[in-house]
Amino acid sequence: MEHAVPVVELRGITKRFPGIVANDAISLELRKGEIHALLGENGAGKSTLMSILFGLYQPDEGEILVDGKPQVIDGPGKAIELGIGMVHQHFKLVQPFTVAENIVLGIEPSKGLSINYRQANAKVKELSERYGLMVDPTVKVEEITVGMQQRVEILKTLYRGAEILIFDEPTAVLTVQEIHELMQILKRLSGEGKSIILITHKLKEIMEVSDRVTIIRRGKVVGTVNTAETNESELAEKMVGRRVSLDKPKAAAKPGEVVLELSGVTVAGTDKGKPVVDDVTFNIRAGEIVGIAGVDGNGQHELVEALTGMRPVSGGTIRLNGKEITHASVKDRIKAGLSNIPEDRQKHGLVLDFSVSENLILGSPEQDRFFKGGFLNKSEIDRHATKLIEAYDVRTPDIHNKTRSLSGGNQQKAIIAREMERDPQLLIAVQPTRGLDIGAISFVHDRLLQARAEGKAILLISYELDELHRLSDRIQVIFDGRIMGEVDPEKAQDDEVGLMMAGKMQAGKGASA
């Protein structure tokens, strides 16, 4: 490892936003050809720091040196000029454009006044072969897989001659297989002399592929270590600041009657004809948590929408406590005892411009209690809200404040409070701890287990395998709209689940080709 001038050096970077210091005098150096991981929890400040490096933000204090020379990076254009490229967590791809169009956007090869598509496609192909990032330049981005889209993002940076690549939480949306491929790609790029910063909170990946790790907590650097000299639990401790165990004592499952019954549920896809949920059959009993494992985009959304009534079912039946709800309205399902913690809290869970108390009665089946004779029963609504925010630790100075003013974690808690307090028969929770800090995650897990102990049936959808293992009594694995098999979390191996998530094996049927 050369100890020459670091390729990028950040000195004393400070960035403030209203009410918070996102980066507090952070110093970091990136050496040529290394893979340097940036580890921290959600909200620790890693994304902000990299956004500064990429020119999306300006630091309030501190300086940036590239190849030893101080630089002002006033925008992504400047960053690209300096050879810095960013592979974003939320892809910046124009969906209706082709792969090649996305890659050459802004520096299109031209023939006279027109875009020279032949040249563009050829260049893209050449690049993709050189770095082993296989893509088809002529396909529209909206038609390719997430893994391929990520490769397009990477190619975008390489096309512009990036020598320094920043990867922002790249594995969040990939299958186990694709993660493996990405790790290989990272090693290959680093072998070619590219310097890589890998932002992540996944300890396993850090251990597998990085050379050094810088840990950030609450905006400050906690330390920089050589990966070879540390281990996962040490990193975890540094990341969080204390010994944390999310393992909860779980009472043995005592499942009761069948609450939810899916039989051959099928949901039609788009005009292409392939169903997006394909002949799904399983049960959930009272007092148990059934988790669904699978990579985002394999039908979980649509399955949940079919269950909640937001999407029509084209085949099969759904029964709740014996009563058929396959084609029931959303309202009727709520009345029948179904509650839902949606994946996108701001889109489906809350009306942000409503007050907290107004949101806490959203969708409530208790019409008479909150609406007396067609009019809002303000005192009862307020009483209800006050009770809930206390019980579920929702931090807000006033229940009449707009819900927009709550932090993400508190918004999530508000939704959980509302849905659980309804005493549902079936609780559907999709990514319930997304974007929450460790404390809030622990709280939510407690609540879910408590609901389980109280005899509720719970369907848990999560993209975090750890979470599924910890909470579920049984795990169904979904791939391409079909249930590949069921596993027992105590006994299942990660790669067994991983293979099923990638469509490779069905439990009890042996590995297929």
Binding site: P18, E61, P342, V351, D353
Partner: protein, 367 residues
């Protein structure tokens, strides 16, 4: 800071005032460029509105229709729909009231209320059409409303020409006295201004608007749809029904405007080549008033006063009446571009707590 200062320091309160000032300023500049004297003109405006009792009464006559259409547009906005069709709903309401006023003969205490109810209902149904097309056919409400505006115009002309107006004439005969909603004694008191129940019902509608939206279950659901239709749907609220209900209520408000125009003010209806445009003025009023019932009332007063006063400006200072629309357009422009106002006004308010800090340059100096 004490409460009053708090209210006046909130951007949502001081911005409309500044916008109004800036709008009047723009109007003044444009008048000056055109060779007119802004001071005489604005003076004439003021005198015209507040001059005599007749003027004051007629100003109220000018305010009433746009109060109704403003409420119509504002209500729809609150529920997430841009009702550009208030014009058509106004015309339909007016025509229906005319029909009942002319063709049906009943004692006064039934006739007038019946005409009012029929007119309002027809306006509501015309509005509901837009809602239905949006809900069940996915038709963009802006296009359908525009189409329906024209259809309403021609439809009403057809009804007038073929059933109500005598050959060769342009206006209908007067409606029966029993259908009239004018207030005779008040008109006399206001020296002949055409006073009617319109403004009073309008004020009632302001209250209804508020109560409906913020105190009832229906209103709660409509507001939820207006803010976030996805979350509303996930909560079991019927979006389609919501669109239709919203447009019905909105159309009812607009229709009421048309009703009073014929039953209260004119007592007849005229074949029109183009609409009077109250529906579009309603959009301006709603925007001025921030889609809030009280704001809409104030906006209607401002707009109506300016419009009535413009005739005085024309008479005394020779200024074309269009200047008033320029002022109004400018005011809305400044309200919409409140960012601009804020940047200009900021330096005057030193105690601003949470302000975004500009980035530091490389030497660590804050900008």
């Amino acid at each position: 800071m004490n409460k009053a200062a708090d209210i006046f320091n909130k951007p949502s309160t001081y911005i409309p005032f500044i916008a109004i000032l800036l709008g009047l300023l723009c109007g003044g500049i444009i008048m000056w460029i055109g060779g007119y004297d802004p001071f005489t003109a604005y003076g004439a405006l003021w005198k015209t509105v507040f001059g005599t009792r007749y003027d004051f009464g007629e100003t109220i006559v000018a305010i009433t229709p746009i109060l109704f259409t403003g409420l119509a547009v504002g209500f729809a906005f609150r529920a997430g729909i841009f009702n550009i069709g208030a014009d058509g709903q106004y015309i339909i309401g007016m025509t229906a009231a005319t029909i009942v006023g002319l063709k049906v003969h009943l004692p006064a205490f039934i006739h007038a209320p019946l005409a009012l109810i029929v007119g309002t209902l027809c306006g509501a149904l015309w509005g509901a059409l837009v809602g239905w097309l949006k809900a069940y056919r996915g038709v963009n409400e802006v296009i359908s409303a525009i189409m329906l505006n024209w259809i309403a115009l021609y439809l009403s002309n057809y009804v007038l020409r073929d059933f109500l107006v005598k050959k060769g004439e342009q206006k209908t005969p007067n409606i029966d006295d029993t259908a009239s909603l004018s207030i005779g004694w008040l008109s006399d008191f206001m020296k002949g201004a055409r006073m009617d129940w319109g403004i009073w019902v309008g004020l009632l509608c302001v209250v209804i608007f508020y109560v409906l939206l913020w105190r009832t279950k229906q209103g709660y659901e409509l507001r939820a749809v207006g803010h976030n239709a996805d979350a509303a749907k996930a909560a079991g609220i019927n979006i389609k029904a919501s669109f239709i209900k919203t447009m019905m209520i909105s159309g009812a408000f607009a229709g009421l405007g048309g009703v009073f125009s014929v039953l209260g003010v004119f007592h007849y209806q005229v074949v029109q080549a183009a609409s009077a445009g109250y529906g579009f003025d309603g959009i301006a009023v709603a925007l001025l008033g921030g889609n809030h019932p009280l704001g809409i009332l104030l906006g209607a007063i401002l707009f109506g006063g300016l419009t009535y006063g413009s005739s005085g400006m024309n008479f005394e200072a020779d200024v074309p009446t269009e200047i008033v629309r320029i002022v109004i357009g400018s005011i809305i422009f400044f309200v919409a571009s409140h960012g601009l106002i804020r940047t200009v006004i900021q330096p005057f308010f030193k105690k601003r707590k949470s302000r975004e800090r500009k980035g530091a340059d490389m030497n660590g100096n804050v900008g």
